[in-house]
């Protein structure tokens, strides 16, 4: 069952200067996310992968195409209408430092969406405790400020906030790339664990094929605003068919000197063959 359906999505940004033409960063991208599924969205900087996520979240306005959620068109909604979607679509951002208001306690951060949606204070407190438990944080965390936590813990708070309203879809924008190696794996496992328990769908944006391979059921590869390849995760991340995905795969160094040497040589061959 398709939960999110993005069709021929175009996004253009205005640039500085009076008569400068808008720059189009997405040239008609179509993809869909099924309920309970993770779609990994891979691409390098400038590919437009983050923009897709923000368009789905309603944080940027598409210049063309459609975004349907639960069969409902959501791309042209007003801010007021958009707010009714808050319980359904949530977000976890890349930077665990700037995605939490430094002035609010964890409890305030987590209860804010609840209160906005009309939960009474007492119910909210209980829910916050449950959420903290769900992401593996101690319940006394709610009295503390974000700066008292490490990056990984903050990202858990951000996940808890996203879960607070029991959404159907969470847009994850590079949620582990700012984390240390040892934390990265644990947070990824948390994501998978939550999905297994709740059946939430992820639109998982990342530049790192390895990460995407871990969490995604299906993977879409973006290159300069166009979708170049999409398919089941094992196929796309291990035996890509598009040359760009191949390059991407070979460029990522593996933590094994011998393997990496072979990969490097393959890449060199690929480069000479494509260069000519």
């Amino acid at each position: 069952m398709t939960l999110l359906e993005v069709e021929k999505l175009r996004v253009a940004f205005r640039t500085r200067g009076l008569r400068a033409k808008p720059v189009e960063v997405l040239h008609g991208v179509s993809l869909e996310v099924a309920a309970g599924e993770t779609l990994g969205l891979v691409g390098e900087s400038g590919s437009g992968k983050t923009t897709i996520g923000r368009a789905v979240l309603g944080l940027v306005k598409p210049s063309g195409g459609s975004i349907r959620f639960d069969q409902r068109e959501i791309s042209g909604l007003s801010r007021r209408e958009r707010r009714t979607l808050a319980p359904d679509i949530q977000v976890v951002f890349q930077d665990p430092y700037s995605s939490l208001n430094p002035a609010m306690t964890i409890g305030e951060i987590l209860s804010e969406p609840l209160v906005v949606q009309g939960t009474v204070a007492k119910g909210a407190r209980a829910r916050v405790r449950a959420l903290l438990d769900q992401v593996g944080l101690p319940s006394d965390a709610s009295e503390r400020l974000p700066r008292e936590f490490s990056g990984g813990q903050r990202q858990r708070v951000a996940i808890a906030r996203a879960l607070a309203l029991e959404p159907k879809l969470i847009v994850c924008d590079e949620p582990v790339s700012a984390l240390d190696l040892s934390t990265q794996a644990r947070v990824l496992d948390l994501f998978i664990d939550i999905q297994r328990r709740t059946g939430v769908s992820y639109l998982f944006v990342s530049h790192d094929l390895t990460v995407v391979r871990h969490i995604s059921h299906r993977v879409a590869v973006l290159y300069q605003g166009d979708l170049v390849e999409t398919g089941p995760a094992p196929d796309v991340t291990s035996t890509p068919s598009h040359p760009y995905t191949q390059r991407l795969l070979l460029a990522a160094p593996v933590a094994d000197p011998a393997l990496q040497r072979r990969r490097r040589e393959r890449r060199a061959r690929l480069r000479t063959s494509t260069a000519v």
Binding site: A35, N101, H214
Partner: protein, 605 residues
């Protein structure tokens, strides 16, 4: 009039280890409590409160009214019975008038600052938060206000205000408001791009709620600071106008008193003195209070240090080492670096690190954020921030002790024998000069070449570093080239001198993987060509596996394990190394479980 800055600042690591990020490490305490702990703030605030109280209590302190005259007391000298500070040219008690002038000053400050605050902050919040069109309107309006030369306008409008200082201060408040507007608007535009505001919008918060909850908090501190300064300038301007004789002389004010004292300067110089002193005290207190508040709210600004003095070291360089044989290219021994924490105590971030690099080796220095690897690199280059102190250890390059040298003493090595490639390519190029100009500077120093020769050499280097159109890149400004290109430029500058040691601090972290691979290839090729040693600081074991022959693993300021790359990957000895290697997402695991196909209601825990 762009004041944009690149916030790429130092590496994430430095930011989290150093004391730079005051906001993160300051213990949790409400702002007013922090203000009350700052002596300068307390003293100035106390002074102002005492002065204001004196003003408010004026009717109880002196028996006279502010305009009560005694014609026999005209120009009475200080100390005359009943007139402790004397009387003025109309026979009014100077002390009484001083006290009442305080009230005038207070009212001026309140009206001026409050008007500026209300007008500027409201417009700033609105203009900053809502779209570009709203902003264009507010921007235009405040530019208009900015265009008026303030005092001149107040004077031009005198026929309208009738010289009443309260109206005048209201207008002056409007004139001050662009300052507040700009502060608020910039902050709001900044906050608006913060992810937590996006998160709040996604959570369904209304704009008003976001403004009130998330945005206003950020704006609060700077507004309070600006208010202190604005209060000061409102008082000064009111005094200036009163000095010129604008408005009623019945209103006791410092300006009117100074003016009258000025007329009697030769007869009774102290008449001029008292209001000048008190006015000076008030404005000085406000300025100093504003500075103190700024320190409290924004964290104290770093004090300047002597440029080129070299990094601080508390080490007495010991005598020549007795170790026989040829010294290593780089020999770091028992290095410790500490930073002051917000409380002022020294906290070691590097704690007795030892590392040897031989000629031609490529050594990876691996660790998680905060482990001290960048600090080690900086210490070796002699560019630790001013607040860092080397507390012990030695760093020897070809046997020569580097700790304790000044920039001038290090110059013969820098850019020649030792070179550096930074993490963030953009912020490490001077934005004001063409790329070529900066490289020519490097090449002239490194190779002693003159102008045209240096340029030829730079173009060759750029080409060697994989830049396809060297001429164009040479003429480009840093903001006109891509990150990968900028990193090639920085590599080109670093290897210009064929250095013996290249220190690369996370040289590929900020780049895309495809670009990362190219830069790593470039470094490998250059190393092979020039035979230089590389100290590569990274958190990425893939990069280590790709380029390094040796690797040192750091944890919390120490090296826990060193070894050849193949050995370390194959059989890590230290538990921490094992843990790190175990955390690496392997290449083979693929998500296997199928999507949980939900029933119509979905599944909830």
């Amino acid at each position: 009039m762009s004041t944009d800055r690149d916030h790429g600042s130092t590496t994430a690591e430095a930011a989290s280890t150093g004391a730079v990020a005051a906001g993160h490490a300051v213990p949790r305490m409400p702002m007013w409590q922090r203000v009350l702990r700052d002596p300068q703030a307390v003293i100035t605030l106390g002074t102002l409160i005492v002065i204001m109280l004196l003003g408010a209590l004026a009717p109880f302190i002196t028996p006279y009214g502010p305009n009560q005259t005694d014609l026999h007391a005209v120009n009475a000298p200080a100390g005359t019975p009943g007139y402790p500070l004397g009387a003025d040219e109309s026979g009014r008690d100077i002390l009484t008038r001083l006290l009442h002038s305080i009230n005038t000053a207070t009212v001026s400050a309140l009206i001026g600052a409050a008007t500026a605050l209300v007008v500027g902050a409201t417009a700033g919040l609105v203009g900053g938060y809502f779209g570009t069109r709203t902003r264009a309107v507010t921007e235009w309006m405040f530019n208009l206000v900015m265009t008026f030369p303030g005092v001149l306008l107040l004077i031009v409008l005198m026929p309208v205000t009738g010289g009443d200082y309260r109206w005048t201060m209201l207008i002056f408040g409007v004139l001050l408001s662009p300052g507040i507007y700009r502060i608020v608007r910039n902050l709001v535009v900044g906050v608006k791009n913060e992810l937590y505001v996006d998160a709040a919008r996604v959570s369904g918060l209304t704009d008003l709620r976001i403004l009130g909850r998330h945005v206003f908090f950020v704006v609060r501190g700077p507004i309070i600071i600006a208010t202190a300064f604005m209060a000061g300038s409102a008082i000064s301007v009111q005094s200036g106008l009163a000095f010129l004789g604008v408005g009623s002389r019945e209103i006791p004010s410092f300006g009117a008193m100074i003016s009258s004292g000025f007329r009697n300067l030769y007869i009774a110089p102290t008449q001029f003195l008292w209001p000048s002193l008190l006015l000076g005290l008030i404005t000085t207190s406000l300025v100093l209070l504003g500075n103190a508040l700024r320190d409290v709210v924004e964290g104290s600004k770093p004090a300047p240090a002597k440029v080129g003095a070299g990094q601080r070291a508390e080490v007495v360089a010991d005598a020549e080492d007795a170790a026989a044989g040829t010294p290593a290219l780089l020999d770091i021994h028992d290095l410790a670096i500490s930073y002051p924490d917000p409380a002022g105590k020294q906290r070691e971030v590097v704690r007795g690190l030892s590392l040897r690099i031989e000629r031609g080796q490529t050594v990876g220095l691996v660790g998680e954020s905060g482990s001290g690897k960048t600090q080690t690199a900086f210490a070796t280059l002699g560019v630790l921030p001013d607040e860092a102190v080397i507390t012990r250890g030695s760093i020897r390059f070809e046997g020569r002790e580097l700790i304790g040298l000044t920039d001038a003493q290090l110059r013969p090595l820098r850019g020649k024998a030792i070179a550096y490639v930074p993490q963030e390519p953009m912020s490490n190029l001077d934005p004001s000069y063409q790329v070529g100009t900066q490289l020519v500077e490097d090449v002239r120093w490194a190779l002693g070449l003159d102008g045209p020769e240096a340029k030829r050499r730079v173009l060759a280097l750029l080409e060697r570093c994989g830049i396809t159109d060297p001429e164009r890149t040479f003429r480009a400004y840093p903001h006109e080239i891509s990150g990968g290109m900028a990193q090639r430029v920085l590599v080109a500058g670093a290897v210009a001198s064929r250095p013996k040691l290249l220190i690369a601090d996370e040289p590929t972290t900020a780049l895309d993987v495809t670009v990362q691979a190219e830069i790593l290839d470039l470094l490998r090729d250059l190393q092979a060509e020039l035979g230089m040693a590389i100290l590569l600081v990274t958190h990425n074991f893939g990069v280590v596996a790709d380029i390094c022959d040796h690797v040192a693993v750091m944890q919390a300021g120490r090296i826990v394990e060193v070894g050849e790359v193949a050995r370390l990957f194959a059989e890590p000895r230290h538990e921490y190394t094992r843990m790190l290697l175990g955390s690496i997402l392997d290449e083979k695991t693929v998500r296997a479980d199928p999507p949980l196909v939900a029933s119509e209601e979905g599944i909830r825990p």
